[in-house]
Symmetry: C2
């Protein structure tokens, strides 16, 4: 049932060049950015001596006592540079990836004294891990209640708003608008390479993650921007009980990487090098162009349609170019996942996202080699090969 | 209620030298080892370039797909060098500290189809975080059922066996011995500096943590040694859903630190330097000697009594020298925590451990400066100052 189960058996192909090799694009492993980080060279190399970071504590005076000051500073700076989130007067809570922060937010927004678990909803197609994240512990605090569009229960609820949305890349607003709603805005993909930045986001509880921002998924570092002090405290408490804080090594490394991103943006005009976002926007643009070309050459598949919009970061109109392809099989094909699997492409069925199996989600963030193979195979399928 | 709440407000004293400064020994922040790691110098310095560890995956062929091979190798090697755990034919699961592994183990040993949550017990005095860890999510899978000694419910249960025990330092075996019991052996302190190593531990599910082994609490790295493949799979699944793996940076750093520990043991006889365990055993021995001297000089306080035993690692009889003082106030004093607080010592009341408030737990792993202040203040209390 849980779509994340597929993670266990998935690994990048050892020989991605081989025609017979299965390419696994089920998950969004962001190896696309490796080339940029290699080019950057030593600037983001971190050196940690053996006697550093022994203590559990980072800053005992902060609500989030395990938050490294340097990391928090670079988060605030990057949001200012990019213009995608208001941080003034907000609390930053660091997490072991944004997954931990989603759970921490569910914990913080629910009440231990409630008569029944609070309903957790998200509009379909929703991120495939939300149902299992809400239900795996059989928590009495919160409970998955499915597609926000069909939600009609009275009383308090939590809505997960993912924008741009995973899997389909569309911009989203809250779907259920009732007085007792609380919201978790998952803005993992609200960065200029994926979508036009329209204005700084300004919600009660907003999540970001290094994985999708810079591609450093192995760090397991995410952050929450939280308006309410008590919510920040409860989220911190959750992380304290579940993992007694978050890796200091990865926070320090993330600080260095985010700093390099901000530096690259600020120095772009005065130096030769591209900024991280110019680099990544261009790769994504190239990939989406190749993808649209191959899909539009046949009538088997269709892609979501997006409108360009003004991006305040680039100072010009840009195209949405999502981190995932939300591919639809047209005509008689009812199970798109199986069709792709026959052609050695592993993708995640629409079923896991509360949608039809005519859809699949395919990662756009893998290596160049794998992406080229994907294009070749999609083309071959269309040509009936 | 939750004893971990105190973590939020606790921080190492900014001016530990001042007479007026509160010394916070509520938690077991293992800064005692900083001196050793400074002496070691560059050997444990890690350098991570910006393009490393982008992927979520470490080893897709391993059950625990986010386990770094190098870390696993050094874990196995260290257990061989120290002789404190059997690892042959077992599965290693890495966690964000052993806290995450305790939760993963509760998840793995419980059944989603059970009519009611499985009981979780531990013999008092038990680790103060166990009750909140079992209950904070109001899970329908497992539920805290208190002191193992008073547990008389029929049916399946999970017993947490902490040996040497936190808070009191005693060696422990399972308390409830019934057919439907499952066990989590938390052996965080089963290392030569804290207790004689009698034989390699050989349980179904055993937990260790870098925090207590080498003092690197800020890394948030723990590991489980698991006999049953299905249990290892379920634990991995838990960590996948809750944090999509464990920081690669910290795993790589932990590998380097564990390697330095094993190297220091193997080279001790051929070189000048002390091994990590000789060094840490000697500091702990000195501290316990000072502590016993000051406590035995009065009749206000008492300490647990331990018997020396043969340690296979040191090849001689050694004394247990726990990471915590389990201090008892004798006579009329009913609230030992308050007494110490009046003298600017923050310690954790016995109440949090399912024991009498006549007891407190005090960390033995803080800096030399703080430890000396502790000794001075305990002495002053005894002298009625």
């Amino acid at each position: 049932m849980s779509s994340t189960s597929s993670l266990v058996n998935s690994t990048r192909a050892d020989h991605p060049g081989g025609r017979e090799t299965v390419i696994n694009l089920d998950h969004g492993d962001p190896t696309i950015y490796e080339r940029f980080w290699r080019q950057v060279g030593d600037k983001t190399t971190i050196i940690i001596p053996g006697w550093q970071s022994l203590s559990y504590f980072s800053d005992g005076s902060n609500i989030c006592w395990f938050l490294e000051t340097e990391f928090a500073r670079e988060v605030v700076r990057l949001h200012k540079v990019v213009g995608n989130a208001v941080t003034e007067g907000r609390h930053i809570v660091v997490g072991t990836g944004s997954s931990q922060l989603i759970l921490a937010a569910l914990y913080a927004l629910s009440s231990p004294d409630a008569a029944e678990p609070i309903s957790v909803v998200s509009a379909a197609p929703y991120y495939s891990s939300y149902p299992s994240m809400a239900d795996y512990q059989k928590s009495g605090l919160y409970k998955w209640a499915g597609d926000a569009e069909n939600f009609d229960k009275e009383g308090p609820y939590i809505e997960l708003v993912t924008s741009p949305n995973n899997p389909d890349g569309h911009r989203r607003k809250a779907m259920v608008n009732r007085s007792q709603g609380q919201f978790i805005h998952d803005l993992a993909y609200y960065w200029p390479q994926y979508t036009p930045i329209s204005s700084p986001s300004d919600h009660d509880l907003t999540l970001f993650t290094v994985s999708k921002t810079t591609g450093h998924a192995g760090m397991r570092i995410g952050w929450a921007i939280v308006k309410d002090k008590e919510v920040a405290k409860k989220m911190t408490k959750f992380i304290e009980i579940s993992t007694i804080g978050v890796s200091k090594d990865s926070q320090l490394r993330a600080a260095k990487v985010l700093k390099a991103v901000s530096d690259s943006c600020e120095q772009e005009n005065s130096q030769d090098g591209e900024s991280f976002f110019t680099h990544s926007y261009n790769i994504m643009a190239q990939r989406w162009k190749q993808l649209r070309a191959v899909v539009e050459a046949g009538d088997l598949f269709t892609l979501p349609q997006f409108s360009p919009a003004f991006c305040t970061f680039f100072g010009q109109e840009t195209e949405p170019q999502p981190a995932f392809i939300w591919l639809k099989c047209e005509g008689d094909i009812e199970d798109c996942e199986s069709l792709l699997r026959e052609h050695k492409i592993v993708a995640r069925s629409g079923r896991h996202f509360g949608a039809s199996p005519k859809y699949v989600r395919i990662s756009m963030l893998d290596t160049d080699e794998t992406f080229i193979q994907l294009i070749d195979r999609l083309s071959a399928i269309q040509q009936g090969k």
